[in-house]
């Protein structure tokens, strides 16, 4: 207990400080402060670009999606509520949602590639970062292990690839309501596991 607490306390303090900085910046962006917006961009664009790259897999489309996301952030910053959401979570949500909208618009009318739809994404996490977050990662991994593989994969594919219940129902030749209630149960299980262990 004596050797390590300083490091973990420092990590927590750093995370809290970062959260406050970003929340303050978002508050200022909400009243039209362009300097704060630039600060926010410098501080978060690598991460949000990671979100776009994960969704599009090619830099050009990912950069267009990123631009779109930041313009949305600029216009909606006033709606950010620091008491309800962490700033980075809010930014990731906007970026993900805008990117998925673009993805769906692009692929509209295209037949769904079922293989691709439910393919297991290659996580390829940054080893060093993963190490730093190892406690959190261990919690998450053990929670995912408790889920059916198909459910875990679908939950990922819904968030990162914009997959819908209809896609899953077709892929598994299962009625949609059955698929829906199964995934709802998986979401509840995952959430309780994550909240219970953190």
């Amino acid at each position: 207990m004596n050797a390590q607490p300083d490091a973990s306390q420092m990590a927590i303090a750093r995370a809290t400080r970062e959260r406050e900085l970003l929340s303050d910046a978002l508050g200022r962006v909400g009243i039209g402060d362009r300097k704060a917006f630039e600060f926010l961009y410098r501080r978060t664009s690598a991460k949000l670009f990671g979100v776009c790259l994960r969704i599009f897999g090619n830099r050009n489309e990912a950069e267009e999606a990123l631009q779109d996301a930041y313009l949305t952030i600029w216009s909606r910053a006033a709606a950010f509520d620091r008491d309800r959401a962490s700033p980075i979570s809010w930014l990731v949500a906007i970026t993900r949602n805008r990117a998925i909208d673009r993805l769906r618009a692009r692929d509209k009318g295209k037949p769904v590639d079922l293989e691709e739809a439910l393919a297991i994404p290659d996580p390829a996490p940054d080893a060093e970062k993963r190490l730093e977050e190892k406690d959190e990662a261990r919690v998450v991994d053990s929670c995912i292990e408790r889920l059916d593989d198909r459910d875990a994969n679908f939950i990922r594919a819904a968030f990162w690839n914009g997959r819908t219940y209809a896609d899953l129902a077709v892929a598994e030749s299962t009625p949609l309501p059955t698929v829906k209630s199964r995934i709802r149960r998986a979401l509840i299980k995952l959430r309780h596991c994550l909240e219970g262990m953190s």
Binding site: E20, L21, D24, A25, R28, G30, I31, G32, D33, R34, K35, E38, S45, A46, K47, F49, G50, V51, L53, R54, R59, E63, L66, Q67, L71, W74, S75, A77, A78, A79, F80, D81, R82, D83, R84, A85, S86, S89, A93, P123, A124, P125, E133, A137, V140, I144, A152, I155, R156, A158, F159, T164, Y165, K180, I183, R184, L187, I188, R191, L194
Partner: protein, 228 residues
């Protein structure tokens, strides 16, 4: 109020984009007035990125240039933040308190990222003996005008905001939303008129605003701009 498992699943489905349009609209409406549900919803992106850590990467510098150019060319006009929702329940009686609070809220986000604290201008727009009251904050550096309606009723007409500087000529600042706080971006050409001593006025006008930029209704509320 505790969230049920059903609520938890719905918040997750909303975050993952799994609800159909009608369900999503219903769930989104709930975000506004159920803080627990909103918090639960807001946690999903963190959970998803924890499940699959992101690979961070720097976008090309051109992306920022395009974003910066886009926001420079299109001033925004949209609703003010949720933490301002507390204003909605206020009555005219608490107007003075509200104005002080508005000032405090505005000044609150003190950080090192923008060293110079801008000189914020404020105005209490009201009517003597009347019930209409609106608080206004203006940041001359950004041109952001925050309008906080506390009590404003124009019946079947719509409230239009005017600025009247020393020359006595009323210039329209556009329509304001009587139901909720909003931040308006004041056009560059209008900004010189918003200074200490200039007068805000509100008149009831037809939908779309006063024709030809001339007020048709009586001034139902007014207030001079002052420094904090």
């Amino acid at each position: 109020m505790r969230l049920t498992d059903e609520d938890i699943a719905t918040a997750g489905e909303l975050a993952l984009g799994l609800l159909d349009k009608a369900e999503a609209a219903q769930a989104r409406a709930r975000l506004a007035d159920d803080p627990e549900f909103a918090t639960e919803y807001a946690k999903w992106p963190d959970r998803m990125t924890a499940m699959e850590p992101l690979i961070e990467d720097a976008p090309s510098p051109a992306v920022w240039s395009r974003i910066d150019a886009a926001i420079a060319s299109q001033p925004r006009q949209d609703n003010a933040g949720t933490h301002l929702r507390i204003w909605q329940g206020l009555t005219a009686a608490s107007f003075a308190v509200a104005l002080v609070l508005a000032t405090v809220l505005w000044r609150q986000p003190e950080t090192q990222l923008v060293p110079a604290q801008p000189q914020i201008l404020v105005a209490a727009i009201g009517a003597e003996g009347g019930r209409e009251s609106v608080a206004a904050n203006y940041n001359p550096q950004t041109g952001a005008l925050q309008i906080i309606p506390i009590s404003l009723d124009t019946g079947t007409l719509y409230p239009e905001l005017w600025i009247i500087p020393e020359d006595g000529v009323a210039r329209s600042l556009g329509m304001i939303d009587p139901s909720k706080p909003a931040v308006h971006s004041i056009p560059e050409t209008m900004r010189p008129h918003l200074h200490k001593g200039a007068l805000f006025a509100i008149t009831p006008e037809p939908a779309g605003g006063a024709p030809n930029g001339k007020a048709t209704g009586p001034v139902i509320a007014k207030g001079a701009i002052d420094t904090i």
